[in-house]
């Protein structure tokens, strides 16, 4: 009973931890499936988080905060597109630049505007996305398994959590069942084929990059106005890169991307749960080591367990019309 409760709790928090990864991972999926590598997921998330925190604090509305986060993130996504699609610049360099701009800009603007050490003001509950309790969640809490899953794993998340998991089947459907998806995947594999079919390669890639921006905005907003109550300097803490790892781990497919993000979420949840708890035979593991576990596992998983991951063929290559 106690064990089940623990597992339910860890699962619930694993879901919450995996949400920003999932948004960012799907964001990267749109972009990279269309042939635009995006190492700037981290930066766009950070911009999104900062904008959401700022706008929510100023307007008092979480929804406006979310909208602003999406707009700001899309702006930077289009900037990446302008550099790497229109001007055929190096996609890695452009992505890294966006990460640097985001890190510097959010810290600087935060300090200048609010003067509380680079943070945005603490948000009240009305200014953030709060958990939504499902009907009868409290009443069912004591029923083993079914009740626990219902009340602790499924119920009690904020709306963005549900949005993230709804985005998975939606992305799958868009990618594999619609014209948009067919063209998006084609443009990442062989842009010349798309061009000769009379479709604009640049247009498709911009559309993909914009989708990426929208989802990064969601990821950022989740961090600052749903999971926390305000923006904190560098609050993404490498999640954009973990999302990228999950994307490779999932071989650029939406459903496996969800599982990969959940896996990283579970690792996060466990590492927090085990902080300060003695492990049989080892004793208390230093907090720093526990926090490093997800990253260490990322390296191990990527090095040995994903097998041969074939990236979209035209990934990273700007399209130049020839002949």
């Amino acid at each position: 009973m106690e064990w089940l409760d623990l597992i339910a709790q860890v699962s619930g928090s694993a879901i919450r931890f995996s949400v920003p990864l999932l948004f960012a991972c799907l964001a990267g999926l749109y972009s990279e499936r269309a042939g635009v590598f995006d190492i700037g997921l981290e930066g766009k998330m950070l911009i999104g988080a900062f904008t959401a925190g700022t706008v929510a604090a100023l307007t008092g509305s979480a929804w406006l905060g979310l909208l602003a986060a999406v707009l700001a993130s899309v702006f930077f996504a289009l900037l990446h597109g302008f550099a790497s699609i229109t001007h055929r610049g190096n996609q890695i360099v452009s992505g890294v630049a966006i990460n640097f701009i985001a890190a510097g800009l959010t810290a600087q603007l935060g300090e200048t505007w609010f003067k509380i050490g680079g943070q945005t003001p603490q948000l009240t509950n009305q200014e953030r996305f709060m958990s939504l309790g499902w009907p009868f969640a409290e009443a069912l809490r004591r029923i083993p398994v079914i009740g626990q899953v219902y009340s602790q794993v499924l119920s009690g998340h904020n709306i963005l959590v549900y949005a993230a998991f709804l985005a998975v089947p939606l992305t799958w459907w868009l990618l594999y069942r619609t014209r948009f998806g067919l063209r998006l995947r084609a443009v990442g594999e062989n842009p010349a084929a798309v061009d000769t079919a009379g479709i604009s390669v640049q247009g498709m890639r911009y559309a993909a990059v914009a989708c990426c921006g929208v989802l990064c905005g969601f990821a950022g907003a989740y961090l600052s106005i749903a999971q926390s109550a305000g923006f904190i300097e560098h609050m993404t803490a490498g999640k954009g890169f973990i999302a990228l790892a999950a994307l490779i781990f999932a071989k650029w497919r939406p459903i496996p991307a969800m599982w990969a993000c959940l896996l990283f979420g579970v690792l996060d949840a466990i590492s927090i749960r085990l902080q300060g708890v003695p492990i049989a035979g080892i004793g208390i593991v230093p907090v720093q080591l526990m926090q490093a576990v997800p990253y260490i596992l990322t390296v191990i998983l990527l090095a040995g367990f994903i097998g041969h991951a074939v990236a979209p063929k035209a990934g990273g290559v700007p399209y130049v019309k020839e002949k």
């Binding site: 995947r185 084929a193 079919a197 479709i199 063929k313």
Partner: protein, 501 residues
């Protein structure tokens, strides 16, 4: 179906005074061309003659600087491939415009999906595809993934793609370059079938034999100009070659009778396996003697590449012996070079040259440690430059600029640089793979003569080529490889002439 005479019908395509410049390059000079409905019209010319540019203008990839296009007698503005498709023009590109991971069906509907949700569009496309397959005899499994299909079938998908979009005029750009002789034969049958159904076909190639085999009329381009349009029946390969190059071209190789001397290369029971452990070369034995050219023929993929790689030390043999001048040849390309073996690889881009390096650097590749090129611990730039200039002169490489990046030379000139590098080392054994792949007709003549000259100087030459005519014309003896083995090892009775490729 058309009972009226062809003359009464306006031409399917009429190009008038098409002119196109790319910066300083005048790619198309005032070109006019009429292509009659229901015919197969060939366009020949050397690389860079402007055939591809002209067709790209017709397909909307480029805009002409001036001139007009008429389709079925109507002036048509073609600003993009979409416009071309709408005007009923389809193109089968030299490099297929297919998405390798998609199925045949997905590739065919790409760009003509018929609605945002794919389902209904795909079902309709499947029915339409069945009809096309029946009408034109173009069978292909709609659910097969492109990457799993042989190139011949991939090309068929390209043709189906154009027909699906309602193409009445089909442009094929160098369609046989990637095909085996059998597949090419099959393609020609398909083209004739399409013609019988009233389609118009524009066939771009530099292979004169194919022009003679399938076309009704042929237009010749040279240096951006349309030189002539003639009835195929009223011309000959020699005449076309002369029009293409602008001078008389000897399509025959002249060779003296010559008795081969001592053996230079001996291969005994050679077995070469690939990474998966399959024997690609399975117990092959042969010798190559000084003063003879031994040709290895056979459809590509029957172990020729692996055989060459084993002899030149790129791929370790599984078993068997390779002797050069009686001594065992170690598996090491540098050591092979030191023992006077020179190699002109089949795939020059992968193994022969570095396209981003200039001509000088490419000329010394592999021999960059030679005494000649050293000055203390530095390279002797001046010596390298003068050596490169000499080689470029001797092998008629154009432009004669030792500091030009190799990627900017034409295929023929790149190949001449590789040949110059290898032949000028004065090797005992020259191994040449596909010496004229992607090479112009004028350069082919030059390269063939150089190979013959090696033979006349008493050197041994091992030649691998998929061009049967090339093997027949050059080789004294021919080995045929099939499934890794060489069942036939025929002695040629006497040198014979060959016809144009």
């Amino acid at each position: 179906m058309t009972s009226t005479k062809a003359m009464a019908v306006p031409p399917a395509i009429a190009l008038a005074h098409i002119d196109k410049r790319f910066g300083p390059v005048h790619a198309n000079k005032d070109i006019s061309l009429e292509i009659e409905k229901g015919t197969i019209h060939g366009i020949v010319g050397e690389n860079g003659a402007g055939k591809s540019t002209l067709m790209s203008i017709l397909f909307g990839f480029y805009q002409a600087d001036s001139g007009e296009i008429r389709v079925d007698g109507k002036e048509t503005h073609i600003a993009s491939p979409t416009d071309a498709i709408r005007a009923g023009i389809g193109m089968v590109h030299q490099h297929f415009m297919l998405v390798g991971k998609f199925t045949v069906l997905e590739n065919i509907v790409l760009g003509a999906e018929g609605g945002f949700v794919l389902n209904s569009g795909l079902a309709k496309a499947r029915r339409e595809l069945e009809r096309l397959e029946k009408d034109y005899g173009l069978q292909v499994d709609p659910d097969a993934v492109i990457d799993d299909l042989p190139v011949g079938l991939q090309q068929r998908v390209e043709i189906l793609k154009a027909l699906y979009r309602g193409a009445e005029v089909l442009i094929l750009d160098e369609p046989t370059g990637v095909l085996t002789p059998n597949e090419a034969e099959h393609l020609f049958r398909i083209l004739k079938q399409l013609k019988a159904q009233g389609k118009t076909i524009v066939f771009i190639t530099h292979k004169l034999k194919e022009i003679m085999a399938v076309t009704d009329r042929v237009s010749v381009m040279r240096r951006g100009e349309m030189v002539a349009t003639v009835e195929t029946a009223a011309t000959s390969p020699e005449h076309l070659a002369e029009l293409m190059v602008g001078r008389r071209v000897l399509l025959r190789v002249v060779k003296s009778e010559r008795e081969p001397e001592r053996s230079v290369l001996e291969v005994k029971n050679l077995v070469v396996k690939d990474a998966a452990g399959t024997a690609k070369v399975d117990g092959v034995s042969f010798i190559v003697r000084a003063g003879e050219i031994v040709g290895i023929a056979g459809v590509a993929g029957n172990g020729q590449s692996e055989l060459l790689e084993a002899i030149t030390g790129i791929r370790p043999p599984f078993s068997g012996e390779i002797l050069l001048n009686g001594k065992p040849l170690p598996c090491d390309p540098a050591e092979a070079r030191a023992q006077k073996l020179a190699h002109v690889p089949e795939d020059r881009h992968r193994l022969g040259i570095v396209t981003s390096f200039d001509a000088c650097e490419n000329v010394i590749l592999g021999y960059h440690g030679d005494e000649l090129y050293q000055k203390g611990i530095f390279q002797d730039r001046r010596a390298i430059r003068s050596d490169t200039e000499k080689k470029m002169r001797d092998f008629d490489v154009r432009p004669q600029d030792p500091y030009l990046r190799l990627g900017l030379f034409s295929g023929g000139n790149q190949q001449k640089i590789v040949l110059a590098r290898e032949i000028e080392q004065d090797p005992d054994l020259l191994i040449v793979g596909q010496p004229t792949r992607g090479v112009d007709i004028g350069a082919i003549e030059f390269i063939h003569n150089r190979l013959i000259a090696m033979r006349e100087r008493g050197k041994a030459v091992l030649l691998v080529s998929v061009e049967l005519d090339e093997i027949r014309g050059l080789a004294d003896r021919v080995l045929v490889m099939c499934g890794g083995a060489s069942p036939a090892n025929a002695r040629r009775r006497r040198p014979r002439s060959r016809s144009a490729s």
